[in-house]
Every structure is written in C-alpha cells, then in structure tokens.
Amino acid sequence: MVNKINRYLKKRINIAKVSFQEILAFRIDIVSILISTFIVTLLSYSLWTAIYKTNSSLNGFDLKAIINYILIASLLNSTLNTPRRVPLNVSREIRTGQIATKLIKPVSYYELNFWYCFGRGIYFFIIITIPLTIISCIFFGLTLPNTFTDGVLFVLSALMGFVIEVGLSLVLSGFIFKTINMDGVFKVNAFFSYLFSGRLIPLAFFPKWLKSVADFLPYRCTVSIPIEIYLGKGNIFMMISIQCVWIIILLLVSNMLFRNAYKRMEVMGG
C-alpha cells in the first residue's frame, strides 16, 4: 500500500520536476520581469498613497491594508500566470498533433497538464515571488499578518487559490477538443481572471452590481480570499469553505470534460 502511494507520487513529482527543468533550461530574462514588476508596484504604491492622503479609510481598507493588498496581489499573481498558459498549450498541441505523443502515456493528459503547473509554478515562485517579497518588505513596507494562524491559513488559502486557477484552466481546456480555435476565449479568460480575482483593485472597490457578479465567480478565490485571510478580514471559515467547494466543482467538471473529449477526439496530421 505504501509502495503504491510512493509510486503514485513519484510519477507526479517527476512530471512537475521535468516542467521545472524545462522552464529552467529556457532561460527567461528574470531581471526584466523583476524590474518591470517593481516599477508597476511603485506606480501603484504612489497612486494609492495619493488617494489615501485625503481619506483615512475607504471601503474597509486603511492605507496600511491597501498597500499590503496590492503588494500581496502582485506576489500571488506571479505564480498564477502559469496555469493560465495551459489552455493555449493544449490548443497548440492539438493543432500540431503533438498531443498524440502524450495521449499514449500511462498518466492521463489531464494529469500531465495538472502537474506541469506545479513544476513551472514552483520555478516562478522561487525566482520571482521570493525576490519580490523581499523587495516589498524593504521598499514598500510589507507587514506580516497579525497572528501566526492567519499566516498559516494564508499559505493554505494561497495554495488552494493556485489549485483553483489550475482547475479553471483545465475546464477551459476541456472545451477545446472540438478543434475550434478558442485562443480568443482564453485571452478573455485571462483578463477576467485578472479583474475578478481582485488583482487590479480589491473587490470591495467594485460597484455593487459588479461585486455581486464577482462573488459568484471562482476567480476571487485566487487573490482576493487569500489576501483577506492575510489581513484578518472577514469570516475565515466561510472563505476557506468557498475555496473548497470551488476546488471540488472545478476538478470534477474538468475531469469529466477531458474524459468526454477523449471519445470525440480528432487528431491532426497523418
């Protein structure tokens, strides 16, 4: 039994390891990413500081809270970009026929994509998120959460948020197998993800009607909920439950879509 679990994990860890190695070998210009993120953060910081010159509190956020918010949102986003690539990858692999080499493996195409996100995500966590955290603390005054529990729950919530982003991307990918070009849909989704996750501005700042839309969508689980837990706002139990529900829904639905897709597949190329 232990052996079985061992083998199960070993395979998946290896898939993640290879995607880590692949992005490592690809040589991204890390410095550019760090510099551009720094500049954007600086602008954001200046903007909000200016806004809060005439208000001490807005929509439940004081200056310290809003600054922490934008800093952490930026940190979370750096890893969330990874799962957003998956639908585009899948689309390309179907178009070129490359998917054929992956469909014959003893690990499902679904899982190959799932664990790919973790390998690549960890890479970006190490080379972008960690340096950015240090920079945020030194230059922008990022503060720690109020209690240790808050911190632990934040980490848990952020992880769940990542899994939700992966699940969402897999749901989208599940619709591709009919060989229509859905790349436009994916780009729109990336934008929705950016907007409704609270990355742009906190959801509390949305007009009421837009906020009620955002509350129904899973995107808030990726950025907004983890940050609210970090800041100690709101009903933590409720928010973690929402995340759990979304994880279950998204993983089930995406799994079903993939199984269905296998049956109706048309693979390009002779």
């Binding site: 190695q21 070998a25 003893p106």
Partner: protein
C-alpha cells in the same frame, strides 16, 4: 496479440464552399461531409511479428495506428491489444505499447535526452537496474552515449528519430507502433534503426507494426505485409505470399545505341513477354517459369546489333505491390 475486427472510422468534416460568397454562406449554414478513413478492416498480428502496413498517402495508415494505440475511438468494430481495448483501458494498455511518430518527438525539446528518458522510466515504473540494462544493451549496437547528453533541439532529424526509437524501448512494451519512422533519414541512420528493431524483435520478442511506403524498410524488416488503399484492406500476407499469388516476374532491360523501333521489336519478342520501349531502352517483363531467360537474351542480342548494356532483375517488391494496387481497382 493484436486483433482487429471490422474496424471502421469515419469523420465529419466541413465541406467548405469556394470563394468569398462561399465562406460567408459557410458561416451561416455550414455543410458537412463524411470521410470514411477506414472501412471494415480486419486482421490479426501474432506476437513477435514485424508487420509492414503499407498504403499511399491518405490511405488510412496513420488512422489505423491511432486507433490501435487508443488515441482515436472506432466508429464501429473492435480492436484488442493483448486482450485490452485501447480506447477503453488506456492506462493498462499504455504499459503494453509504445508509439513512435515519424515527425513528432515525445522528448522534451530543451532538455538533454537522458532527462526525458528518466521521466519515461519514472512514468512507466521501470526499475533502475532494468533501465540501465536496456541502455547498455542499446549502446552495444549503436554508439549512443554522445547523443544522450545533448538537448533534443540540437539533434538532427536522424539522431532525434534514433532517440525516439530508443525511448520506445525503455519500458519493454509488447508492441511498438512506428508511424513512418524512416522518413527523411539517410541510409546510415536507417541501417541503425533497422538493426535496433531487428535485434529487439529477436531478443525480446517485441511485436512491431510499421507504417511506411519505403520499400527498403519492408524488404529489410517485415515478415508480414498489409496493403491498405482508400481505407480498405487489399492484401494481408507474407512477402513470399506476394510472390506466389501475384507471380514472380523477371525484368530484363537492354540499352542500345540505336532507337528501338516498335514494329521490329514486336516481331522479335515472343507473345508471353511484356515489353516497353523508351527510345534507347527496351524493358522486358515475363514469368521465368514460362520463358527461358538465356534463350530470350540470346534472341534479343541476335536481333539487335548495337546492344550496349543488359540489366537483369528479379521483380522488385515495389513492382509487385503496384501490380496489386492495379489489380484491385
């Protein structure tokens, strides 16, 4: 090992209309047509056989491979590999098979070859000692070590294909499918590919199914041949069967300084010999059981004064296969 019964695969594709008007019409009222890629194909492959699956472009070869490997689901009919239905029991079937696609690699583009092999080893649960054994076995036959440490993107097509074929051996599958593996390879690499496959077949009893239209592959490797044309199976047997059923033929060609004249040739050549003129070249085809080669050659040399070259060939597999296609039309 492989059982195929009444396998049929059809697709619905867009039937696109021509021109700008047509494209607009297509947007509002798309039309579909059904393409029958495979029609009612049945055959068996026994363990340890090397099957050559031959067909012209678009005949349905790749579709068959995809159906056999479980990538596609049949429209009707049955496929079983070692008792498993590929499209239904993917995971279990995956351990039994390997597929090498001629123009696509399963290896990671930016990583060294051995990293991809490590991943394969892990995904297929291959024990480390078996893995090492396999690789040293391969090294005995081809000088493989220099390739192992190179990133895949730096390899030439031939080297990449070799690496892909080696990759397909790692988990010791019972059946290996190769979809046009030797396209674009030079003769030396082709030989290495052939050696690998023949040795694997002899030592491990691996069954091979190779789609190809390269006669060299077929002559060197395959003991059984299936011909596919427009989705239908038109021949299933051994190379010897082809010779026996479609008649072994002999071909003798003559080159002359003068042009061969139609009427004169007709008067010289016996009726049971087929002939063809291409200005200075005369080609004769006949059944060596019916016609004596020696006397035929002597007759021709005697009748035509300026023969400069003679070429005798037992009819090639290629010629016989063309003949089968023609007969079956």
């Amino acid at each position: 090992m492989i059982e195929v019964k009444n396998l049929t695969k059809s697709y619905n594709v867009y039937d696109r209309r021509e021109g700008l008007r047509g494209s607009i019409k297509d947007l509002f009222n798309p039309r579909y047509k059904t393409i029958e890629a495979l029609k009612d194909v049945s055959f068996n492959v026994n363990a340890g056989e090397i099957l050559g699956y031959i067909g012209t472009n678009g005949a349905g070869k790749s579709t068959t491979i995809k159906l056999l490997s479980g990538i596609l689901t049949p429209t009707s009919g049955e496929v079983k590999i070692n008792g498993l239905v590929p499209s239904k029991e993917r995971r279990r079937n995956a351990y039994n098979i390997s597929v090498v696609f001629g123009q696509r690699t399963q290896l990671s583009w930016d990583l060294a070859v051995h990293e991809s092999y490590e991943l394969i080893k892990n995904i297929y649960d291959v024990p480390q000692d078996k893995f090492n054994e396999k690789l040293s076995w391969i090294n005995k036959m081809i000088d493989f070590n220099p390739l192992m440490h190179s990133p895949v993107r730096k390899l030439s097509l031939g080297q990449r294909t070799l690496c892909d074929i080696v990759a397909s051996f790692i988990h010791s599958p019972k059946v290996i499918f190769l979809d046009e593996p030797t396209i674009g390879l030079d003769i030396f690499v082709k030989e290495q590919v052939h050696t690998l496959m023949k040795k694997a077949n002899q030592e491990f009893g691996t069954t091979f199914v190779i789609t190809t239209h390269d006669m060299n592959d077929i002559e060197k490797l395959c003991n059984r041949i299936i011909l596919i044309n427009k989705g239908e199976l038109i021949f299933n047997g051994s190379k010897n069967d082809i010779n026996e059923l479609y008649g072994s033929e002999c071909m003798v060609s003559f080159e002359s300084e003068d042009i061969f004249l139609h009427n004169y040739v007709q008067s010289v050549i016996p009726n049971n010999v087929k002939w063809k003129i291409d200005s200075h070249k005369l080609e004769l085809n006949f059944n060596p059981n019916e016609v004596n080669i020696k006397s035929l050659i002597e007759k021709v040399i005697g009748s035509f004064n300026s023969i400069t070259d003679i070429n005798v060939e037992k009819t090639s597999l290629e010629y016989l296969i063309k003949k089968i296609y023609e007969i079956k039309k």
